[in-house]
Symmetry: C2
Subunit: 300 residues, 2 copies
Protein backbone atom coordinates (compact mmCIF):
# COMPACT_ATOMS: atom_id res chain seq x y z
CA UNK A 1 0.00 0.00 0.00
CA UNK A 2 2.59 2.55 -1.11
CA UNK A 3 0.17 4.22 -3.56
CA UNK A 4 -1.12 7.61 -2.42
CA UNK A 5 -3.79 9.68 -4.17
CA UNK A 6 -3.48 13.46 -4.13
CA UNK A 7 -6.69 15.40 -4.65
CA UNK A 8 -5.71 18.75 -6.14
CA UNK A 9 -8.00 21.43 -4.71
CA UNK A 10 -6.13 24.53 -5.90
CA UNK A 11 -8.40 25.52 -8.80
CA UNK A 12 -11.45 25.55 -6.49
CA UNK A 13 -10.73 25.63 -2.75
CA UNK A 14 -7.50 27.50 -3.39
CA UNK A 15 -8.55 30.13 -5.93
CA UNK A 16 -11.85 30.70 -4.13
CA UNK A 17 -9.82 32.17 -1.25
CA UNK A 18 -7.48 34.31 -3.37
CA UNK A 19 -8.42 37.97 -3.67
CA UNK A 20 -7.42 38.26 -7.34
CA UNK A 21 -9.95 36.70 -9.75
CA UNK A 22 -8.53 34.62 -12.60
CA UNK A 23 -10.18 34.27 -16.00
CA UNK A 24 -11.70 31.02 -17.22
CA UNK A 25 -8.85 30.71 -19.73
CA UNK A 26 -6.17 30.93 -17.04
CA UNK A 27 -7.99 28.51 -14.74
CA UNK A 28 -8.39 26.13 -17.68
CA UNK A 29 -4.68 26.35 -18.46
CA UNK A 30 -3.85 25.74 -14.78
CA UNK A 31 -6.02 22.62 -14.75
CA UNK A 32 -4.40 21.44 -18.00
CA UNK A 33 -0.96 21.83 -16.42
CA UNK A 34 -2.05 19.99 -13.26
CA UNK A 35 -3.36 17.12 -15.36
CA UNK A 36 -0.08 17.10 -17.30
CA UNK A 37 1.72 16.79 -13.95
CA UNK A 38 -0.05 13.49 -13.38
CA UNK A 39 -2.80 14.53 -10.98
CA UNK A 40 -5.93 12.39 -11.45
CA UNK A 41 -8.35 14.23 -9.15
CA UNK A 42 -8.58 17.95 -9.77
CA UNK A 43 -11.30 20.03 -8.15
CA UNK A 44 -12.31 22.28 -11.02
CA UNK A 45 -14.88 24.79 -9.78
CA UNK A 46 -17.95 25.59 -7.73
CA UNK A 47 -21.59 26.01 -8.76
CA UNK A 48 -22.28 28.83 -6.37
CA UNK A 49 -23.48 32.38 -6.94
CA UNK A 50 -20.78 34.52 -8.62
CA UNK A 51 -22.20 37.36 -6.54
CA UNK A 52 -20.84 35.66 -3.40
CA UNK A 53 -17.85 33.88 -4.90
CA UNK A 54 -16.70 35.84 -7.98
CA UNK A 55 -13.50 33.77 -8.16
CA UNK A 56 -15.59 30.77 -9.29
CA UNK A 57 -17.59 32.63 -11.97
CA UNK A 58 -17.80 30.66 -15.21
CA UNK A 59 -17.36 27.25 -13.57
CA UNK A 60 -19.98 25.81 -15.96
CA UNK A 61 -18.08 26.92 -19.05
CA UNK A 62 -14.79 25.78 -17.52
CA UNK A 63 -16.15 22.34 -16.69
CA UNK A 64 -17.66 21.94 -20.15
CA UNK A 65 -14.18 22.40 -21.65
CA UNK A 66 -12.80 19.46 -19.65
CA UNK A 67 -13.02 15.79 -20.60
CA UNK A 68 -15.10 14.65 -17.63
CA UNK A 69 -15.60 11.22 -19.18
CA UNK A 70 -11.91 10.31 -19.14
CA UNK A 71 -9.56 8.92 -16.50
CA UNK A 72 -9.18 12.23 -14.67
CA UNK A 73 -11.86 13.21 -12.18
CA UNK A 74 -12.93 16.86 -12.01
CA UNK A 75 -15.15 17.28 -8.95
CA UNK A 76 -17.04 20.54 -8.52
CA UNK A 77 -18.54 21.98 -5.35
CA UNK A 78 -22.33 21.96 -5.31
CA UNK A 79 -24.31 23.56 -2.44
CA UNK A 80 -27.86 22.63 -3.47
CA UNK A 81 -30.15 21.08 -6.11
CA UNK A 82 -29.97 24.15 -8.33
CA UNK A 83 -26.18 23.88 -8.34
CA UNK A 84 -26.40 20.15 -9.05
CA UNK A 85 -28.60 20.74 -12.10
CA UNK A 86 -26.17 23.31 -13.47
CA UNK A 87 -23.22 21.01 -12.79
CA UNK A 88 -24.91 18.09 -14.54
CA UNK A 89 -25.74 20.30 -17.53
CA UNK A 90 -22.03 21.17 -17.77
CA UNK A 91 -21.06 17.49 -17.75
CA UNK A 92 -20.08 16.91 -14.10
CA UNK A 93 -19.33 13.31 -13.16
CA UNK A 94 -18.07 14.19 -9.67
CA UNK A 95 -19.46 16.65 -7.16
CA UNK A 96 -18.60 17.63 -3.59
CA UNK A 97 -20.75 18.88 -0.73
CA UNK A 98 -19.34 20.94 2.12
CA UNK A 99 -20.33 20.20 5.72
CA UNK A 100 -18.82 21.05 9.10
CA UNK A 101 -18.19 19.41 12.46
CA UNK A 102 -18.84 22.71 14.23
CA UNK A 103 -22.35 24.04 14.73
CA UNK A 104 -21.22 27.68 14.83
CA UNK A 105 -18.94 27.35 11.80
CA UNK A 106 -21.76 25.71 9.86
CA UNK A 107 -24.15 28.55 10.71
CA UNK A 108 -21.62 31.24 9.81
CA UNK A 109 -20.48 29.49 6.65
CA UNK A 110 -23.66 28.09 5.12
CA UNK A 111 -26.34 29.76 7.27
CA UNK A 112 -27.69 26.59 8.85
CA UNK A 113 -26.74 24.14 11.58
CA UNK A 114 -25.11 20.74 11.05
CA UNK A 115 -28.37 18.77 11.16
CA UNK A 116 -30.14 21.06 8.70
CA UNK A 117 -27.13 21.05 6.36
CA UNK A 118 -27.24 17.27 6.20
CA UNK A 119 -30.98 17.40 5.47
CA UNK A 120 -30.25 19.80 2.62
CA UNK A 121 -27.47 17.60 1.23
CA UNK A 122 -29.60 14.43 1.29
CA UNK A 123 -31.66 15.13 -1.86
CA UNK A 124 -28.58 16.55 -3.65
CA UNK A 125 -26.64 13.37 -2.97
CA UNK A 126 -29.62 11.16 -3.86
CA UNK A 127 -30.18 12.89 -7.21
CA UNK A 128 -26.47 12.84 -8.02
CA UNK A 129 -26.07 9.14 -7.25
CA UNK A 130 -29.19 8.41 -9.32
CA UNK A 131 -27.53 10.10 -12.28
CA UNK A 132 -24.32 8.08 -11.80
CA UNK A 133 -22.40 10.98 -10.30
CA UNK A 134 -19.90 10.39 -7.48
CA UNK A 135 -20.22 12.56 -4.39
CA UNK A 136 -17.41 13.63 -2.10
CA UNK A 137 -18.25 14.96 1.36
CA UNK A 138 -16.17 17.62 3.06
CA UNK A 139 -16.18 17.93 6.83
CA UNK A 140 -14.53 21.12 8.03
CA UNK A 141 -13.23 21.97 11.54
CA UNK A 142 -12.15 18.38 12.28
CA UNK A 143 -9.57 19.52 14.85
CA UNK A 144 -10.83 22.92 15.94
CA UNK A 145 -13.23 25.70 14.95
CA UNK A 146 -12.34 29.39 14.74
CA UNK A 147 -15.38 30.16 16.91
CA UNK A 148 -15.80 27.14 19.21
CA UNK A 149 -12.17 26.04 19.74
CA UNK A 150 -11.34 22.34 19.90
CA UNK A 151 -13.91 19.98 18.39
CA UNK A 152 -14.50 16.54 19.95
CA UNK A 153 -13.39 13.61 17.74
CA UNK A 154 -16.77 11.96 18.31
CA UNK A 155 -18.57 14.93 16.73
CA UNK A 156 -16.39 14.68 13.64
CA UNK A 157 -17.06 10.94 13.47
CA UNK A 158 -20.85 11.49 13.62
CA UNK A 159 -20.89 14.01 10.77
CA UNK A 160 -18.51 11.91 8.67
CA UNK A 161 -20.63 8.82 9.23
CA UNK A 162 -23.84 10.62 8.24
CA UNK A 163 -22.31 11.85 4.98
CA UNK A 164 -20.99 8.35 4.31
CA UNK A 165 -24.41 6.83 5.02
CA UNK A 166 -25.99 9.35 2.65
CA UNK A 167 -23.77 7.91 -0.09
CA UNK A 168 -20.58 9.97 -0.21
CA UNK A 169 -17.83 7.72 -1.59
CA UNK A 170 -15.17 9.68 0.24
CA UNK A 171 -15.07 11.94 3.29
CA UNK A 172 -12.47 14.69 3.24
CA UNK A 173 -11.51 15.65 6.79
CA UNK A 174 -10.57 19.32 6.92
CA UNK A 175 -8.40 20.90 9.59
CA UNK A 176 -9.74 24.27 8.54
CA UNK A 177 -7.70 26.50 10.82
CA UNK A 178 -4.60 24.31 10.87
CA UNK A 179 -4.22 24.01 14.64
CA UNK A 180 -4.29 20.21 14.55
CA UNK A 181 -1.06 18.45 15.51
CA UNK A 182 -0.32 14.74 15.00
CA UNK A 183 -1.65 13.59 18.37
CA UNK A 184 -4.97 15.36 17.91
CA UNK A 185 -5.28 14.31 14.26
CA UNK A 186 -4.65 10.68 15.17
CA UNK A 187 -7.29 10.80 17.93
CA UNK A 188 -9.74 12.25 15.41
CA UNK A 189 -8.88 9.60 12.78
CA UNK A 190 -9.25 6.88 15.40
CA UNK A 191 -12.80 8.04 16.17
CA UNK A 192 -13.79 8.56 12.54
CA UNK A 193 -12.39 5.25 11.28
CA UNK A 194 -14.58 3.37 13.76
CA UNK A 195 -17.55 4.64 11.72
CA UNK A 196 -16.16 5.04 8.17
CA UNK A 197 -13.57 2.64 6.68
CA UNK A 198 -10.20 4.37 6.37
CA UNK A 199 -10.11 3.65 2.62
CA UNK A 200 -12.98 6.14 2.28
CA UNK A 201 -11.24 8.93 4.17
CA UNK A 202 -9.05 11.78 2.92
CA UNK A 203 -6.92 14.16 4.97
CA UNK A 204 -7.36 17.85 4.18
CA UNK A 205 -4.90 19.66 6.42
CA UNK A 206 -4.10 23.35 6.46
CA UNK A 207 -0.54 24.49 7.00
CA UNK A 208 -1.34 27.71 8.90
CA UNK A 209 0.86 26.67 11.84
CA UNK A 210 3.25 24.58 9.73
CA UNK A 211 1.79 21.26 10.89
CA UNK A 212 0.28 19.83 7.68
CA UNK A 213 3.23 17.71 6.60
CA UNK A 214 3.61 16.21 10.09
CA UNK A 215 -0.13 15.52 10.15
CA UNK A 216 -0.01 13.80 6.77
CA UNK A 217 2.97 11.70 7.87
CA UNK A 218 1.08 10.63 10.99
CA UNK A 219 -2.09 9.92 8.97
CA UNK A 220 -0.14 7.62 6.65
CA UNK A 221 0.73 5.52 9.71
CA UNK A 222 -3.00 5.42 10.51
CA UNK A 223 -3.68 3.98 7.05
CA UNK A 224 -4.86 7.03 5.11
CA UNK A 225 -3.86 7.03 1.47
CA UNK A 226 -5.69 10.08 0.10
CA UNK A 227 -4.79 13.70 0.82
CA UNK A 228 -6.06 17.04 -0.44
CA UNK A 229 -3.51 19.66 -1.39
CA UNK A 230 -3.39 22.94 -3.29
CA UNK A 231 -0.74 23.74 -5.90
CA UNK A 232 1.51 26.64 -4.82
CA UNK A 233 -0.37 26.64 -1.51
CA UNK A 234 -3.21 28.53 -3.22
CA UNK A 235 -5.84 29.87 -0.87
CA UNK A 236 -4.15 31.45 2.10
CA UNK A 237 -5.99 31.55 5.40
CA UNK A 238 -9.19 33.59 5.72
CA UNK A 239 -8.59 33.92 9.49
CA UNK A 240 -5.12 35.50 9.41
CA UNK A 241 -4.03 37.68 6.52
CA UNK A 242 -0.64 36.66 5.14
CA UNK A 243 -0.77 33.26 6.83
CA UNK A 244 -0.82 29.90 5.03
CA UNK A 245 -3.92 27.85 4.35
CA UNK A 246 -4.01 24.73 2.21
CA UNK A 247 -0.83 22.69 2.27
CA UNK A 248 1.05 23.00 -1.03
CA UNK A 249 0.75 20.02 -3.37
CA UNK A 250 4.45 20.17 -4.23
CA UNK A 251 5.44 19.94 -0.55
CA UNK A 252 3.21 16.89 -0.07
CA UNK A 253 4.32 15.21 -3.30
CA UNK A 254 8.00 15.79 -2.50
CA UNK A 255 7.67 14.34 1.02
CA UNK A 256 5.70 11.31 -0.19
CA UNK A 257 8.24 10.41 -2.86
CA UNK A 258 11.13 10.81 -0.39
CA UNK A 259 9.26 8.56 2.04
CA UNK A 260 8.90 5.85 -0.58
CA UNK A 261 5.27 6.39 -1.55
CA UNK A 262 4.04 6.51 -5.13
CA UNK A 263 1.93 9.46 -6.24
CA UNK A 264 2.26 9.44 -10.03
CA UNK A 265 3.05 13.15 -9.83
CA UNK A 266 5.84 14.66 -11.92
CA UNK A 267 7.44 17.26 -9.64
CA UNK A 268 9.00 19.53 -12.31
CA UNK A 269 5.65 19.66 -14.14
CA UNK A 270 3.89 20.44 -10.87
CA UNK A 271 6.38 23.22 -10.11
CA UNK A 272 5.66 24.58 -13.58
CA UNK A 273 1.95 24.73 -12.72
CA UNK A 274 2.79 26.39 -9.39
CA UNK A 275 4.93 29.01 -11.13
CA UNK A 276 2.25 29.63 -13.74
CA UNK A 277 -0.58 30.31 -11.30
CA UNK A 278 1.63 32.28 -8.91
CA UNK A 279 2.62 34.58 -11.75
CA UNK A 280 -1.04 34.97 -12.72
CA UNK A 281 -1.80 35.98 -9.12
CA UNK A 282 1.21 38.27 -8.94
CA UNK A 283 2.90 36.58 -6.01
CA UNK A 284 5.45 33.95 -4.98
CA UNK A 285 4.39 30.31 -4.50
CA UNK A 286 3.54 29.70 -0.81
CA UNK A 287 5.50 26.48 -0.87
CA UNK A 288 8.82 25.59 0.72
CA UNK A 289 9.66 23.10 -2.01
CA UNK A 290 8.91 25.59 -4.80
CA UNK A 291 11.17 28.14 -3.11
CA UNK A 292 13.93 25.58 -2.50
CA UNK A 293 13.88 24.46 -6.14
CA UNK A 294 12.93 27.71 -7.76
CA UNK A 295 15.17 30.20 -6.02
CA UNK A 296 18.42 31.04 -7.78
CA UNK A 297 21.47 29.57 -6.04
CA UNK A 298 23.23 31.98 -3.71
CA UNK A 299 26.42 33.57 -4.94
CA UNK A 300 28.78 31.76 -2.56
CA UNK B 1 9.58 12.24 29.75
CA UNK B 2 7.43 15.11 28.49
CA UNK B 3 10.18 17.69 29.11
CA UNK B 4 11.84 18.96 25.93
CA UNK B 5 14.85 21.29 25.77
CA UNK B 6 15.03 23.83 22.98
CA UNK B 7 18.49 25.10 22.09
CA UNK B 8 18.05 28.56 20.60
CA UNK B 9 20.59 29.02 17.81
CA UNK B 10 19.21 32.22 16.27
CA UNK B 11 21.76 34.71 17.66
CA UNK B 12 24.63 32.62 16.22
CA UNK B 13 23.73 30.06 13.57
CA UNK B 14 20.80 32.23 12.47
CA UNK B 15 22.33 35.70 12.34
CA UNK B 16 25.57 34.31 10.88
CA UNK B 17 23.59 33.48 7.73
CA UNK B 18 21.68 36.77 7.48
CA UNK B 19 23.12 39.32 5.09
CA UNK B 20 22.39 42.33 7.32
CA UNK B 21 24.80 42.71 10.24
CA UNK B 22 23.29 43.58 13.62
CA UNK B 23 25.07 45.60 16.29
CA UNK B 24 26.23 44.11 19.59
CA UNK B 25 23.49 46.09 21.35
CA UNK B 26 20.73 44.64 19.21
CA UNK B 27 22.09 41.09 19.51
CA UNK B 28 22.32 41.58 23.28
CA UNK B 29 18.73 42.78 23.43
CA UNK B 30 17.63 39.80 21.30
CA UNK B 31 19.36 37.39 23.70
CA UNK B 32 17.79 39.17 26.66
CA UNK B 33 14.34 38.74 25.11
CA UNK B 34 15.01 35.07 24.36
CA UNK B 35 16.04 34.50 27.97
CA UNK B 36 12.91 36.33 29.12
CA UNK B 37 10.89 33.92 26.95
CA UNK B 38 12.17 31.05 29.08
CA UNK B 39 14.91 29.63 26.84
CA UNK B 40 17.74 28.12 28.89
CA UNK B 41 20.24 27.38 26.12
CA UNK B 42 20.99 30.31 23.85
CA UNK B 43 23.85 30.17 21.38
CA UNK B 44 25.32 33.63 21.76
CA UNK B 45 28.12 34.08 19.24
CA UNK B 46 31.15 32.72 17.41
CA UNK B 47 34.87 33.26 18.01
CA UNK B 48 35.80 33.32 14.35
CA UNK B 49 37.47 35.98 12.24
CA UNK B 50 35.17 38.99 11.68
CA UNK B 51 36.83 39.19 8.27
CA UNK B 52 35.09 35.95 7.28
CA UNK B 53 31.98 36.24 9.43
CA UNK B 54 31.28 39.94 10.04
CA UNK B 55 27.84 39.11 11.49
CA UNK B 56 29.59 37.65 14.56
CA UNK B 57 31.97 40.57 15.15
CA UNK B 58 32.10 41.59 18.81
CA UNK B 59 31.12 38.17 20.17
CA UNK B 60 33.66 38.60 23.01
CA UNK B 61 32.11 41.84 24.17
CA UNK B 62 28.61 40.41 23.78
CA UNK B 63 29.46 37.31 25.81
CA UNK B 64 31.10 39.36 28.53
CA UNK B 65 27.81 41.21 29.00
CA UNK B 66 25.95 37.96 29.72
CA UNK B 67 25.73 36.17 33.06
CA UNK B 68 27.47 32.96 31.98
CA UNK B 69 27.60 31.71 35.56
CA UNK B 70 23.82 31.57 35.99
CA UNK B 71 21.18 29.01 35.07
CA UNK B 72 21.11 29.94 31.39
CA UNK B 73 23.75 28.44 29.12
CA UNK B 74 25.27 30.63 26.41
CA UNK B 75 27.36 28.39 24.15
CA UNK B 76 29.64 30.02 21.59
CA UNK B 77 31.13 28.49 18.46
CA UNK B 78 34.88 27.93 18.66
CA UNK B 79 36.86 26.66 15.65
CA UNK B 80 40.32 26.30 17.24
CA UNK B 81 42.54 26.90 20.29
CA UNK B 82 42.89 30.59 19.55
CA UNK B 83 39.11 30.92 19.54
CA UNK B 84 38.87 28.90 22.76
CA UNK B 85 41.30 31.24 24.53
CA UNK B 86 39.31 34.28 23.47
CA UNK B 87 36.04 32.63 24.50
CA UNK B 88 37.45 31.72 27.91
CA UNK B 89 38.71 35.26 28.40
CA UNK B 90 35.19 36.52 27.71
CA UNK B 91 33.75 34.16 30.33
CA UNK B 92 32.48 31.25 28.20
CA UNK B 93 31.20 28.23 30.16
CA UNK B 94 29.88 26.46 27.05
CA UNK B 95 31.43 26.10 23.62
CA UNK B 96 30.53 24.27 20.43
CA UNK B 97 32.64 22.72 17.68
CA UNK B 98 31.35 22.23 14.16
CA UNK B 99 32.02 18.96 12.29
CA UNK B 100 30.45 17.28 9.28
CA UNK B 101 29.42 13.82 8.16
CA UNK B 102 30.38 14.65 4.57
CA UNK B 103 34.00 14.71 3.47
CA UNK B 104 33.36 17.24 0.69
CA UNK B 105 31.25 19.52 2.86
CA UNK B 106 33.93 19.46 5.55
CA UNK B 107 36.62 20.42 3.03
CA UNK B 108 34.53 23.24 1.52
CA UNK B 109 33.34 24.52 4.90
CA UNK B 110 36.39 24.28 7.14
CA UNK B 111 39.15 23.47 4.64
CA UNK B 112 39.97 20.00 5.92
CA UNK B 113 38.54 16.48 5.78
CA UNK B 114 36.51 14.81 8.53
CA UNK B 115 39.47 12.98 10.09
CA UNK B 116 41.66 16.06 10.20
CA UNK B 117 38.84 18.17 11.64
CA UNK B 118 38.44 15.72 14.50
CA UNK B 119 42.20 15.86 15.12
CA UNK B 120 41.96 19.64 15.28
CA UNK B 121 39.00 19.53 17.67
CA UNK B 122 40.68 17.08 20.08
CA UNK B 123 42.99 19.59 21.83
CA UNK B 124 40.26 22.26 21.84
CA UNK B 125 37.86 19.89 23.57
CA UNK B 126 40.58 18.65 25.96
CA UNK B 127 41.55 22.18 27.02
CA UNK B 128 37.92 23.22 27.40
CA UNK B 129 37.00 20.22 29.54
CA UNK B 130 40.11 20.84 31.67
CA UNK B 131 38.83 24.36 32.35
CA UNK B 132 35.37 23.07 33.31
CA UNK B 133 33.76 24.17 30.06
CA UNK B 134 31.05 22.05 28.43
CA UNK B 135 31.48 21.22 24.75
CA UNK B 136 28.72 20.64 22.27
CA UNK B 137 29.53 18.89 18.97
CA UNK B 138 27.72 19.72 15.77
CA UNK B 139 27.55 17.18 12.97
CA UNK B 140 26.28 18.67 9.72
CA UNK B 141 24.91 16.85 6.64
CA UNK B 142 23.32 14.04 8.67
CA UNK B 143 20.75 13.27 5.95
CA UNK B 144 22.39 14.60 2.80
CA UNK B 145 25.19 16.85 1.59
CA UNK B 146 24.81 19.61 -1.01
CA UNK B 147 27.81 18.15 -2.88
CA UNK B 148 27.68 14.38 -2.22
CA UNK B 149 23.93 13.75 -1.99
CA UNK B 150 22.59 11.26 0.55
CA UNK B 151 24.91 10.43 3.46
CA UNK B 152 24.95 6.91 4.93
CA UNK B 153 23.58 6.70 8.51
CA UNK B 154 26.69 4.73 9.50
CA UNK B 155 28.95 7.63 8.52
CA UNK B 156 26.94 10.00 10.70
CA UNK B 157 27.13 7.52 13.58
CA UNK B 158 30.93 7.28 13.30
CA UNK B 159 31.48 11.05 13.41
CA UNK B 160 28.96 11.48 16.23
CA UNK B 161 30.62 8.72 18.21
CA UNK B 162 34.09 10.23 17.77
CA UNK B 163 32.92 13.63 19.02
CA UNK B 164 31.21 11.93 21.95
CA UNK B 165 34.35 9.94 22.76
CA UNK B 166 36.36 13.15 22.63
CA UNK B 167 34.15 14.48 25.42
CA UNK B 168 31.28 16.39 23.83
CA UNK B 169 28.34 16.23 26.23
CA UNK B 170 25.85 16.56 23.42
CA UNK B 171 25.86 15.87 19.69
CA UNK B 172 23.66 18.11 17.56
CA UNK B 173 22.64 16.29 14.39
CA UNK B 174 22.19 18.78 11.57
CA UNK B 175 20.09 18.19 8.47
CA UNK B 176 21.93 21.05 6.82
CA UNK B 177 20.06 21.14 3.52
CA UNK B 178 16.71 20.03 4.90
CA UNK B 179 16.08 17.14 2.52
CA UNK B 180 15.66 14.64 5.34
CA UNK B 181 12.17 13.19 5.78
CA UNK B 182 10.98 11.19 8.80
CA UNK B 183 11.94 7.76 7.42
CA UNK B 184 15.50 8.85 6.64
CA UNK B 185 15.87 10.77 9.91
CA UNK B 186 14.70 7.74 11.89
CA UNK B 187 17.18 5.47 10.07
CA UNK B 188 19.95 7.96 10.88
CA UNK B 189 18.90 8.19 14.55
CA UNK B 190 18.75 4.42 14.78
CA UNK B 191 22.36 4.16 13.60
CA UNK B 192 23.64 7.03 15.76
CA UNK B 193 21.87 5.92 18.94
CA UNK B 194 23.65 2.55 18.75
CA UNK B 195 26.87 4.50 19.38
CA UNK B 196 25.75 7.53 21.43
CA UNK B 197 22.97 7.35 24.06
CA UNK B 198 19.88 9.18 22.82
CA UNK B 199 19.92 11.45 25.89
CA UNK B 200 23.11 12.99 24.48
CA UNK B 201 21.64 13.72 21.05
CA UNK B 202 19.93 16.83 19.71
CA UNK B 203 18.01 17.20 16.45
CA UNK B 204 18.97 20.22 14.32
CA UNK B 205 16.66 20.14 11.34
CA UNK B 206 16.34 22.69 8.59
CA UNK B 207 12.94 23.52 7.18
CA UNK B 208 14.05 24.19 3.60
CA UNK B 209 11.56 21.64 2.21
CA UNK B 210 9.04 22.09 5.03
CA UNK B 211 9.99 18.82 6.74
CA UNK B 212 11.47 20.00 10.06
CA UNK B 213 8.33 19.74 12.17
CA UNK B 214 7.57 16.25 10.86
CA UNK B 215 11.18 15.24 11.53
CA UNK B 216 11.04 16.57 15.09
CA UNK B 217 7.75 14.75 15.69
CA UNK B 218 9.30 11.51 14.44
CA UNK B 219 12.46 12.09 16.54
CA UNK B 220 10.35 12.48 19.68
CA UNK B 221 9.04 8.97 19.07
CA UNK B 222 12.67 7.82 18.82
CA UNK B 223 13.35 9.28 22.26
CA UNK B 224 15.03 12.60 21.42
CA UNK B 225 14.24 15.38 23.87
CA UNK B 226 16.54 18.19 22.68
CA UNK B 227 16.09 20.21 19.50
CA UNK B 228 17.86 23.21 18.00
CA UNK B 229 15.73 26.00 16.58
CA UNK B 230 16.15 29.60 15.48
CA UNK B 231 13.79 32.38 16.53
CA UNK B 232 11.87 33.85 13.56
CA UNK B 233 13.54 31.19 11.40
CA UNK B 234 16.69 33.34 11.34
CA UNK B 235 19.33 32.17 8.92
CA UNK B 236 17.71 31.29 5.65
CA UNK B 237 19.33 28.71 3.42
CA UNK B 238 22.74 29.44 1.89
CA UNK B 239 21.98 26.99 -0.94
CA UNK B 240 18.76 28.56 -2.23
CA UNK B 241 18.12 32.28 -1.89
CA UNK B 242 14.71 33.03 -0.42
CA UNK B 243 14.32 29.50 0.92
CA UNK B 244 14.04 28.55 4.59
CA UNK B 245 16.89 27.26 6.74
CA UNK B 246 16.68 26.72 10.48
CA UNK B 247 13.26 25.72 11.73
CA UNK B 248 11.63 28.58 13.64
CA UNK B 249 11.67 28.23 17.44
CA UNK B 250 8.09 29.45 17.71
CA UNK B 251 6.86 26.75 15.29
CA UNK B 252 8.63 24.05 17.33
CA UNK B 253 7.50 25.42 20.70
CA UNK B 254 3.91 25.70 19.50
CA UNK B 255 3.83 22.13 18.20
CA UNK B 256 5.45 20.71 21.33
CA UNK B 257 2.97 22.39 23.68
CA UNK B 258 0.03 21.24 21.53
CA UNK B 259 1.43 17.70 21.62
CA UNK B 260 1.58 17.76 25.39
CA UNK B 261 5.30 18.34 25.87
CA UNK B 262 6.73 20.88 28.31
CA UNK B 263 9.28 23.40 27.03
CA UNK B 264 9.17 26.19 29.61
CA UNK B 265 8.87 28.63 26.72
CA UNK B 266 6.41 31.52 26.88
CA UNK B 267 5.04 31.84 23.34
CA UNK B 268 3.95 35.52 23.44
CA UNK B 269 7.39 36.50 24.77
CA UNK B 270 9.05 34.40 22.07
CA UNK B 271 6.89 36.05 19.38
CA UNK B 272 7.99 39.39 20.80
CA UNK B 273 11.64 38.38 20.31
CA UNK B 274 10.83 37.18 16.79
CA UNK B 275 9.16 40.47 15.94
CA UNK B 276 12.05 42.47 17.42
CA UNK B 277 14.80 40.76 15.41
CA UNK B 278 12.72 40.63 12.22
CA UNK B 279 12.21 44.37 12.43
CA UNK B 280 15.94 44.87 13.01
CA UNK B 281 16.62 42.81 9.87
CA UNK B 282 13.91 44.62 7.92
CA UNK B 283 11.86 41.57 7.06
CA UNK B 284 8.93 39.38 8.11
CA UNK B 285 9.48 36.45 10.51
CA UNK B 286 10.02 33.25 8.47
CA UNK B 287 7.66 31.38 10.74
CA UNK B 288 4.17 30.06 10.12
CA UNK B 289 3.17 30.48 13.76
CA UNK B 290 4.40 34.09 13.90
CA UNK B 291 2.41 34.87 10.76
CA UNK B 292 -0.70 33.06 12.04
CA UNK B 293 -0.59 34.95 15.34
CA UNK B 294 0.86 38.20 14.12
CA UNK B 295 -1.15 38.88 11.01
CA UNK B 296 -4.13 41.19 11.42
CA UNK B 297 -7.43 39.35 11.17
CA UNK B 298 -8.98 39.48 7.73
CA UNK B 299 -11.78 41.98 7.16
CA UNK B 300 -14.56 39.41 6.82
Amino acid sequence: MRQVTLVEVGPRDGLQNESRELSIDIRHELIRKLAAAGLKDIEAGAFVSPKWVPQMAGSAELLSRLDTGGSIRYPVLVPNLKGLEAAMAAGARDIAVFGAASETFSRKNINCGIEESLERFAPVIREALGAGIRVRGYVSCVAACPYEGDIAPGTVAEVADKLFQLGCHQISLGDTIGTGTPGRILAMLDAVSRMVPVAHLAGHYHDTYGMAIANIRASLDAGLRTFDASVAGLGGCPYARGASGNVATEDVAWMLEREGFVTGVDLPALLDAAGFVSQALGREPASKVARAFGAPAAAS
